[in-house]
Symmetry: D2
C-alpha cells in the first residue's frame, strides 16, 4: 500500500555484496524497470539498514550486522538464485508439478523473508514513542493502546524458542487493524498490509539475550520507529 | 462458549444474501462501523455469492452451494466464535503465551479462509475472457500471457490431492506481479495484494471431478470474471 | 527426468495386485533386498488393497479405487521419481543446501503419504468390532474405550474441510498410547508407532459424503479391521 | 523400537527444575505407573542431561545449560500443563472440534520437542567416533559412510537460520535407513525409529556460533555418542 517506505530501502549495499554481477547497482528508475522485467528475471537488490548498525538501544551492533548480513541478505541471494531455477524448471517438460511447487514453496518462503526483514529493519531505529494520532488509531481497534501492546507482546513471547513473526496489519478485506501470529516466513495474513513487524526468529535475539525473548521484546519496543509505522498506516 | 454469536451471524448472512455487489463494494456505513469496533468484537457477515450458484460453466450448483455454505460460511462462523475465545484468553492471566498463540494460529487460518474464499468467489462468474489491457499487463510480467497461465496452472496441478491456493498477486515490496503457491489458508505472500485466486482444496472440485484436478482447473479458467481481476489490479 | 521409473513401478504394482496379505506381512526376501539397496536407489512397489475395493460398508468402490489409484499410488510414483532427483542434486556441487532441502521436504511428505496410506488401508476391511483385550488396553490409557473413541472422532471432525490424519499411536519415548492430530503427510509424532490411522484428506470422503465428514467417520469406524490394529499394538 | 535408550533418561527431576540438582535419582516404577495412567493425566518428568553440561567439545556449558533448561524443560512444562487443558476442553461440550485441534496441534508440537530433545541429548556426550559395525551398517544404506554424513550435514546447513531437525531414522514400513529433513517439532517421518538426531533450531548454536551453522554441525559431529546410536539401531 505505502510505496514511500520502499524508498528508504532502495539504496545498494553493493560494497558488501559477494558477486557484483548478480546484484547490480541500483538505478534511479529501477522500479519502472522491474515492472517491465518478467517475474523470472527480477533480481532483488538488498536494502541497506536504514540506521547505523550500532544505533539501536540494547541490541548490539554485532547482532544487527549478523542479522542483516547473514539472514536478510542471505535470503535475497537465495531468492535471486531461485528465479533461475524456476525458469529452468518451467522450461523442462520433465518437471513434475509437485517438484515445481517445491521451488515455488521456497520462493514463497524466501520472498517472505526478504519482505518481512525489510519491513522489520524499516520500523526500527526510532525512539519507541508513538505519536498521539497513531496511539488513538490503534486504540480505536484494540480498545486501548495498552491492550494492543499487551497482545502484540504476548504473541511474541509465545514464539520464543522458535521461528516466526508478529505483525500488526491492516486487513484490506475485513477493514480491520489486527495483530497476527506468523509461524515462519511463508505464513502471512492474506490481503493484509503490514504496519509493524517484529522478527521472533532466534537469530533476532539469541546472540544478545540468549533464551530471554521477553528482554528482546522490550528492546524492540524501545527502538520502534513510529514515524515509519504511521506512514505505512 | 459463545454459541450465540453464531446465531447472530447466520441471520445476518441470510439478510444480505440479496445484494450481488456485496463483495466488490462494501457499504460505506458498515465500513465505518467495523473500524470503530475493536478487533476482538468484530463479527464478520458472510458475503453472498456474487453469481447464481448454478451459473458456472462445468462446476455444479451442488458443489458451489456446498463450497459456499460448508467451507466458506463455516470459516466465517469459526472466525466469529474465535474472537470471543481470544478475548477470554487474553483476559485470563493463566493463559500461557504458547496457548494463546494456538488461538492466534487458528485466527490466522480462518481469516485466510474467509478472505481467500471471498476473493475466489469474487473472481468467478465471468466468461473467462481476459481483455487486451489485462493480457498485456500480465504479459509484461511473465513474458507472455500464456507463460503466466502455464505457470498458474502448473502450480494448481501440483496442489492436486491436497490443500492450498494459487494466487496471482502484486507484491507491494518487490513491485512485482507474481504467481504464488500457498499450502493452506495460513500461508500467503507477505504484503501482497491478491489479484486472481484459485482454490485447490479438494472441496473445490472432488464432488464434480474426483481426483481430476486438471479438469477443474480448466473449468475454473472458463469461469474467471476478468473484470473483477482488472479492478483489483 | 527419469520418467521411466514410473513405468517400472506401475507394472510392478499390477503384478502384485494379488497377494492380499502383502501389507501386513512383507516377504522376508524383499526386506533383505531393500536393506541392501542404498537409500537413493530404493524403488517402492505399491501395496495392493488388502480387501476388495467394493467390500467396504458405506464407502463406495469408486472412492476406494480412486483413493488407492490416484492418491496412494500417485504418492508412490512421486516418491520413486524423487529419489533420482535427490541423487542428482546431491551429486551436483551447485545445489544450495536450502534447495536440496526442498527436495527432502518433498521426500518427507511423499514418504508420509505412502506410509500412512498403507497403514490406513491396512486397518480397514474389518467389521468394526474391537475385541475385549484391545478395548481394555485402550481403556487403560484413555479412561474408557468410549473416551478414546470420542477424542479420536473429535480430532477427525476438526480436520473436516482440510488435509490431515488422525492417529492412535504408541509413543516409544513417553510409553503412552495417545491420539494425535496431524496436519498433513509431513507432520507426525516423533518416535511413535502408528496403531490406528484415519485419513482426513478430503479425497477420503468428498466423493461419497460431500462436506459431511462426520458421516465418513461413522463409515470408517464400521470398517475398522481391529485384528490388524491388535497386531500392530 | 529400542526401549533401552529411555532408561538413560528416566530420572526424576522432582519438584525443583531450576537448580542444577535437577539431575536426580530414578523412580524404578515410574514406567509402569505411566502406562496405567490415562493419556490425559500423564505428567512427564524431565530427563537429566546424560553428560555434564560442560563436557562437550566446542559447545559451551552456558549454551548446553540454556538449551536443556529453557528449551527442553520448557517444552516438558508446556506439555504437562497442556494435558489439563485438553481434559478440560474435551469435557466441555461447547468446545468446537477445530479449537480442540488447536490444543492437539500444540500437544503434537510439544511432544515432538520433548522426544526429540531427549534423543538429541542422548546421542551427545561421546567422542564422535563411530564403530566399524555401525559404519558398515550405515554404508550399506547410503553407499558409503561419507555419503551418509555428507547428506546429513547438507540437510543441517539448509536448516541454518530457521527451526528444524535432521534425523537418521529407520523407516519401519519401507525397511529403510534414511536421513530426513524436519521443519519443526511437529514434522516427522511417520512410523520411523529415530537413530541419530541433530537439533537445528537456532537456540542449539546461536549463542556460541552466531549464524555459523556449519561450525556447530562440526561440533555436533565431534560429540556424537555412537554407542547410543548403535543401541538404538
Amino acid at each position: 500500500m505505502t510505496t514511500t517506505s520502499r524508498r528508504e530501502f532502495v539504496h545498494g549495499a553493493a560494497a558488501t555484496l559477494v558477486a557484483a554481477s548478480a546484484i547490480a547497482t541500483p538505478l534511479a528508475a529501477s522500479e519502472e524497470k522491474t515492472v517491465s522485467n518478467t517475474a523470472y528475471d527480477y533480481q532483488h537488490v538488498p536494502a541497506p539498514l536504514p540506521f547505523a548498525a550500532k544505533a539501536l538501544n540494547g541490541i548490539s551492533e554485532k547482532l544487527v550486522q549478523s542479522h542483516w548480513q547473514n539472514n536478510y541478505t542471505g535470503a535475497v541471494t537465495a531468492l535471486n538464485l531461485l528465479r533461475g531455477r524456476l525458469k529452468q524448471a518451467l522450461g523442462d517438460s520433465n518437471t513434475p508439478a509437485y517438484l515445481y511447487n517445491g521451488l515455488k514453496r521456497e520462493q514463497l518462503l524466501r520472498t517472505g523473508s526478504v519482505v518481512l526483514h525489510e519491513l522489520y529493519f524499516g520500523n526500527l531505529g526510532g525512539d519507541g514513542k508513538a505519536g498521539a494520532d497513531l496511539r488513538a488509531r490503534i486504540a480505536a481497534s484494540f480498545g486501548s493502546f495498552d491492550a494492543w501492546e499487551s497482545e502484540f507482546r504476548k504473541i511474541g513471547q509465545g514464539l520464543g524458542g522458535g521461528s516466526g513473526w508478529v505483525v500488526l496489519g491492516f486487513n484490506q478485506k475485513l477493514k480491520l487493524l489486527e495483530n497476527y501470529w506468523m509461524a515462519d516466513h511463508a505464513t502471512a495474513p492474506a490481503d493484509t498490509a503490514p504496519i509493524l513487524v517484529m522478527d521472533m526468529y532466534e537469530h533476532a535475539y539469541q546472540m544478545d539475550f540468549g533464551a530471554a525473548a521477553a528482554k528482546y521484546i522490550d528492546a524492540f519496543f524501545s527502538n520502534i520507529n513510529w514515524d515509519t509505522v504511521a506512514q505505512r498506516l
